[in-house]
């Protein structure tokens, strides 16, 4: 087949997790169902199972991250894998080694899996195409392209609180333009059959032709939040802003910051999500972030089970 999805082998079996785009609902649901069982493991006194004993998992973080790297590390350790964290920003690359040379060297140390975060879109894809067929790659965020495990843990959280995807209205709010999380969320939501996905943002923070992803575009919170069941907030990515996307953070908060008043426009039992790290008082008010509709901390907890599921499914899918 031409243009085969690079994440799947010729039998449609998942070998790498690079993006939620183009993955069938059956694979997404298999990950969510498996994660459900791992939640059971993470609630025990002994939170470790022997599934990936003897496997070596390399966390390759070319971009700083605390939460994502830590949750991948905890997930791998709970599966009994050996985890090696490489903070590449301060090691080989700064000495001039290329990305693929770094990967080759680590492969020679018998790596079984790479978890990759990189500021360049497509970095994880490049590595997946390069490694031996028995090595698996997980994209932990590449540029503004994709962050599939975040999207999957968001789907897990939504299903946990709302049970079914097929009657939901979901709004993704904030800096869609720079957000790999938003792209991965949109693909996952539409694949899982969410009938109404909205993006709410100023024009300057929306990618061109975002409607083509199957979302409805709103620029006004008071209209966009009507009848919404799930609010997925995004972080305002100051570090990725070039030029004048916004007048100021205060101005942004006034129009798009989630306050209790704005939240009251959504459905009464709506849940509020945020991938972190939060800018309190910029995209979300503390009263909402810490309020009873917030599921932001459960997202973090579920993230471990979801990453355990992804790692163990990939490790079990030997080509």
């Amino acid at each position: 087949m031409i243009n085969r999805n690079p994440q799947l082998d010729e039998n449609g079996i998942l070998q790498h997790l690079l993006t939620t785009e183009g993955l069938p609902a059956s694979i997404l649901l298999h990950i969510l169902d498996t994660a459900e069982s791992f939640v059971g493991v993470t609630e025990r006194d002994v939170k470790k199972i022997p599934l990936l004993r003897g496997k070596s998992i390399f966390n390759l973080f070319f971009e700083p991250s605390t939460r994502t790297r830590t949750t991948f590390e905890i997930a791998a350790k709970r599966l009994s894998a050996d985890v090696i964290n490489l903070n590449i920003a301060v090691s080989a690359q700064s000495k001039g080694e290329t990305l693929l040379d770094t990967v080759d060297n680590l492969s020679a140390m018998n790596a079984d899996m790479f978890v990759v975060r990189h500021s360049q879109s497509g970095a994880a894809h490049l590595i997946a195409n390069h490694v031996r067929s028995d090595v698996h790659v997980i994209n932990a965020g590449d540029g503004s392209h994709a962050h599939p495990t975040q999207a999957l843990l968001d789907m897990f959280t939504i299903r946990h609180y709302k049970k079914d995807f097929r009657n939901l209205s979901v709004a993704i709010i904030g800096d869609i333009l720079h957000s790999r999380v938003a792209r991965s969320q949109i693909h996952a939501l539409t694949t899982l059959g969410v009938p109404e996905v909205r993006v709410i943002a100023p024009k300057t923070l929306l990618p061109k032709m975002v409607e083509r992803l199957g979302v409805h575009v709103y620029h006004d919170m008071s209209k966009g939040l009507k009848n919404i069941d799930v609010l997925m907030m995004l972080r305002l990515q100051n570090e990725r802003m070039q030029g004048a996307n916004l007048p100021s953070a205060e101005e942004y908060f006034k129009y798009y910051g989630l306050t209790s008043e704005k939240l009251s426009l959504a459905r009464r039992n709506a849940i509020v999500m945020h991938p972190g790290p939060m800018n309190r008082g910029v995209e979300i008010d503390s009263a909402v972030a810490d309020g009873k509709q917030s599921v932001i901390l459960p997202q973090v907890t579920f993230g471990i089970a979801v990453r355990m599921a992804v790692m163990s499914i990939l490790a079990g899918n030997q080509a």
């Binding site: 498996t34 006194d45 199972i49 079990g316």
Partner: protein, 168 residues
């Protein structure tokens, strides 16, 4: 080949356990057939402790070969494992590998005082030093056949035999 009636085997099995154990024993069914059996035993024997279930997929020794394909159910053990007398319940005992995995998983919950094993059918073929304390029947079956327990909508249990290489 004529297979025995699972309902009759169930009654025999329940009687054997009843004659031997008090009601303080705890039952754990192994997914999927073992859970059906354990649910029935739990009712029949009026066990006081809530019923536990185990899905041993995360502890299997053939993960490297077969991976995680089928749906993994969540294990739930709603009682204190530490110090408990537990009867593991499975539908068919063959190689013993499932029971090895179940015992390993159980010890991640605590240290039971004793673990016994109840199975509806012991078909031999053991590859590990494991034996059942309570057995409905011992059957010798060709190695290329798979014996499975089925449950009808009414809850009635029955046994079925498949060729290993054919899809169910």
């Amino acid at each position: 080949m004529q297979l025995p009636d699972a309902e009759i085997l169930f009654k025999d099995l329940a009687k054997k356990i009843k004659n031997d154990c008090d009601k303080n024993v705890a039952l754990i069914g192994i997914h999927t057939g073992g859970v059906w059996l354990a649910e029935r035993l739990h009712q029949e024997l009026e066990i006081a402790q809530p019923l536990g279930t185990l899905d041993v997929s995360f502890y299997r020794d053939d993960f490297e070969k077969i991976g995680l394909h089928s749906e993994v159910k969540r294990s739930t053990i709603p009682f204190e494992v530490e110090g408990a007398h537990i009867i593991l319940v499975d539908d068919v005992l063959n190689t013993g590998r499932t029971i090895r995995a179940a015992i390993n998983e159980l010890f991640d919950y605590g240290r039971p005082s004793r673990i016994s094993l109840a199975t509806l059918v012991d078909r031999g073929g053991r590859e590990l030093p494991i034996t059942a304390q309570y057995t409905g029947i011992e059957l010798t079956l060709p190695a290329d056949k798979i014996l499975v327990l089925k449950r009808e909508k009414s809850g009635k249990l029955s046994l079925d035999l498949y060729d290993k290489n054919l899809p169910e």
